[in-house]
């Protein structure tokens, strides 16, 4: 367990943990704000209404943020390897393309973009080749799940041919 492993105090605080602590505080504030601005129409029967749990969770998050901050100052940041951003961005792009295409183009054409983008992220292209392969794969999957197993999946122009 890294509790024992990173037990040397670091002079420079662990920046990642500080960012995480900040994110937790923001989350706590959002949850509390949403609970506070709730318009409770009908009178709630007991004192514990729909606000109680959110306030509790918000309080918990605040405590966790504080503890994370303390940890950031007490322990050295673990040496994390450098990650490449490009492949991740490609995958994100593929997913966004899928979201955009899905309502208009149906499952196969949209998901083909995820397939092609992911393959590209791992170094396999070219896109004009991997996209049709992806569409074909997605179509096969669609046929199996939507026809054989009656799963409800959006059908676009391509699926309507089958």
């Amino acid at each position: 367990m890294t509790d024992a492993a990173d037990a040397q105090g670091g002079r420079r605080p662990d920046r990642a943990s500080l960012v995480i602590a900040l994110a937790l505080i923001v989350l706590a504030l959002v949850v509390a704000w949403d609970a506070a601005t709730m318009r409770t129409g009908a009178a709630t029967y007991s004192r514990i209404g729909p606000r109680a749990f959110p306030y509790g969770v918000s309080a918990g998050l605040t405590i966790l943020a504080a503890l994370t901050t303390i940890r950031a100052f007490r322990f050295a940041a673990p040496r994390l390897p450098r990650d490449e951003a490009r492949p991740a961005l490609w995958i994100v792009g593929g997913l966004l393309t899928q979201i955009a295409l899905l309502p208009y183009a149906g499952f196969s054409l949209a998901t083909g973009s995820v397939f092609a983008a992911t393959a590209y992220a791992f170094g396999r292209g070219p896109l004009w080749l991997t996209y049709p392969i992806g569409v074909a794969f997605a179509l096969a999957v669609w046929l199996f799940f939507a026809r054989a197993l009656s799963l409800i999946l959006p059908a676009g122009p391509l699926e309507r041919l089958f």
């Binding site: 367990m1 890294t2 509790d3 024992a4 037990a7 995480i20 937790l24 989350l27 949850v31 949403d34 709730m38 409770t40 009908a42 007991s46 514990i48 209404g49 729909p50 109680a52 749990f53 959110p54 969770v57 998050l61 966790l64 994370t68 940890r71 673990p78 994390l80 390897p81 990650d83 490449e84 492949p87 991740a88 995958i91 994100v92 997913l95 966004l96 979201i99 899905l102 309502p103 499952f107 998901t111 995820v114 397939f115 992911t118 393959a119 992220a121 791992f122 396999r124 991997t130 992806g134 794969f137 997605a138 999957v141 799940f145 197993l149 009656s150 799963l151 409800i152 999946l153 959006p154």
Partner: protein, 500 residues
């Protein structure tokens, strides 16, 4: 005993041809998806959950059982043949199993994993059938306050068992709780954390969160590190079958593994890692060939695999009898139950015994099918694993988005998939456990319901929460679960500094 009779009735249900077919499909799908690296049983169940919605509750539960066991078997196949296993419980199997595969003994490793899982699974399911009615009887004396205490215990064990630090585990849990808050409050019809987005009124789908955190997060993680890590797939050389010597060395670890796995799985002890680890240490202790461990000792595969499978059946005990999920997989299965309006717990045993016993019987059937189908199909699963990474992960993401689209094809859901995928990547990078998020998401709303029910019974008097000795014991255990790892690691740190 009445439970054996009920089990018999359940078997009759499970053996109907249509249900058998569902079991076969479930096992095959479960193994096919479970084999994919980075996809463990929790994710396999999450991905295939929407598939089961179209069936009647009985059929879909049976498919569930198949997917559950198939997913686990697929996962152990991966950890034996590939040196980067998909989930933490498989790390132990990978330890010895991969070494065996490299020495050309991949076949026996897979065989001992399969047979051991079968033996342990059968024993554990039997134990599940026998133990459940007793627990149900006990649970009927539970009121909302006790249920709340039980859920708090589940929260703490899930947070403390996973991941590398209690703080991170609890943080993950609270993220899950926040996600669970989104949607309409059932008791007052109040919308929470929806920010005016109508799609969020139904809450956040478990499938979306699980798929995003597990599959997409993992894919992003691997993609970002691909140049540094090359996976090597071990071909299954040599015989597929175990020698007599292998059998001789395996059967006791199977039984011991089952004995260790089932009770630990049944307790809210949070996950399959502890029993598999314990089984490994036990086998190493008891083996006359200690030096083989670390280099491919078959006991090191037989025991932990049996323990893994037995503990999976064990987690069904609190899930079915109390409605309490103790692992991410159980949490996802609970979501599946809820989709049918079924609330697992003592009432379900009373109101729909056919359903529950049908499920338990189909666990038996699924177990048998696993053995029958998968040993011959090994070649197929190896082919799946030897697909090059680009295609593999492209396929994984295709299935991942399929699962979400099948559950809810709205753009909002898919954007959430993306956002949580990025969160999953960040969590992996900074070593935050993912499973507590799923458990928090599912269990959070349930625990809130119990809390409010308890307090409305007591007219807002908080002392009802510690009013019974059951609750007090549960809270004490919860505190122990939280403080235990902290105290242990502090002790270790002190000893390390003292140079012992």
């Amino acid at each position: 005993m009445e439970s054996l009779g009920a089990l018999g009735d359940g078997l009759l249900v499970a053996l109907q041809p249509s249900n058998l077919l569902f079991a076969v499909i479930g096992v095959t799908l479960g193994t096919a998806i479970g084999v994919l690296p980075g996809i463990g049983p929790a994710l396999t169940v999450a991905l295939l959950l929407p598939v089961t919605f179209q069936l009647d509750p009985g059929g879909s539960l049976i498919m569930f059982a198949g997917i559950y066991y198939g997913g686990m078997y697929g996962g152990s196949t991966t950890s034996i043949l590939l040196n980067t296993p998909g989930e933490s419980a498989s790390i132990i199997t990978a330890l010895e199993g991969n070494k065996m595969a490299r020495a050309g003994r991949g076949g026996p490793a897979l065989a001992t994993a399969a047979i051991g899982s079968f033996v342990a699974g059968t024993l554990a399911t039997l134990a599940l059938a026998l133990v459940s009615p007793w627990i149900v009887r006990f649970a009927l004396s539970f009121g909302p306050a006790e249920y709340f205490a039980l859920m708090v215990l589940a929260f703490t064990t899930v947070s403390a068992a996973f991941g590398s630090s209690v703080l991170r585990g609890v943080t993950s849990l609270f993220v899950g709780l926040v996600l669970g808050l989104v949607g309409i409050d059932l008791q007052t019809g109040q919308a929470r954390l929806t920010f005016g987005v109508p799609d969020l009124l139904d809450g956040i789908e478990v499938t979306t969160v699980a798929v995003a955190l597990f599959a997409i997060g993992e894919t992003l993680h691997v993609a970002a590190r691909q140049r540094r890590f090359a996976e090597t797939l071990e071909a299954v050389r040599g015989s597929l079958w175990m020698s007599r010597e292998d059998w001789r060395r395996s059967w006791k670890p199977w039984l011991r593994g089952a004995g260790v796995g089932f009770p630990m799985g049944a307790m809210p002890a949070g996950g399959a890692e502890i029993p598999t680890f314990l089984s490994y240490m036990l086998e190493r202790r008891l083996s006359p060939r200690k030096e083989e461990f670390g280099h491919g000792a078959i006991e090191g595969v037989a025991g932990p695999e049996a323990a893994n499978n037995a503990s999976a059946a064990g987690t069904l005990v609190p899930l079915l009898t109390l409605g309490l999920p103790t692992t991410a997989t159980a949490a996802i299965m609970l979501a599946g139950f809820q989709q049918y309006g079924l609330q697992p717990g003592p009432l379900l045993f009373a109101n729909s015994p056919g359903l529950v016993w049908g499920l338990i019987s189909s666990l038996f059937i699924a177990n048998i099918m696993l053995l029958v189908l998968n040993l011959p199909l090994i070649g197929l699963w190896v082919k799946v694993l030897s697909v090059p990474r680009p295609w593999l992960y492209a396929g994984i993401l295709t299935f991942a988005t399929l699962g979400t689209i099948g559950a809810n094809p709205s753009p909002v859901e898919l954007i959430m998939l993306l956002v949580f995928g990025l969160l999953g990547y960040a969590m992996r990078r900074y070593d935050y456990p993912v499973a507590p998020v799923v458990v928090g998401l599912i269990l959070g709303p349930l625990s809130e319901q119990q809390l409010r029910r308890a307090l409305s019974i007591s007219q807002s008097d908080p002392s009802i929460l510690v009013g019974s000795w059951i609750s007090i014991v549960l809270y004490a255990l919860a505190i122990a679960a939280l403080l235990g790892p902290i105290i242990m690691s502090a002790g270790r740190a002190r000893r390390a500094r003292a140079g012992t």
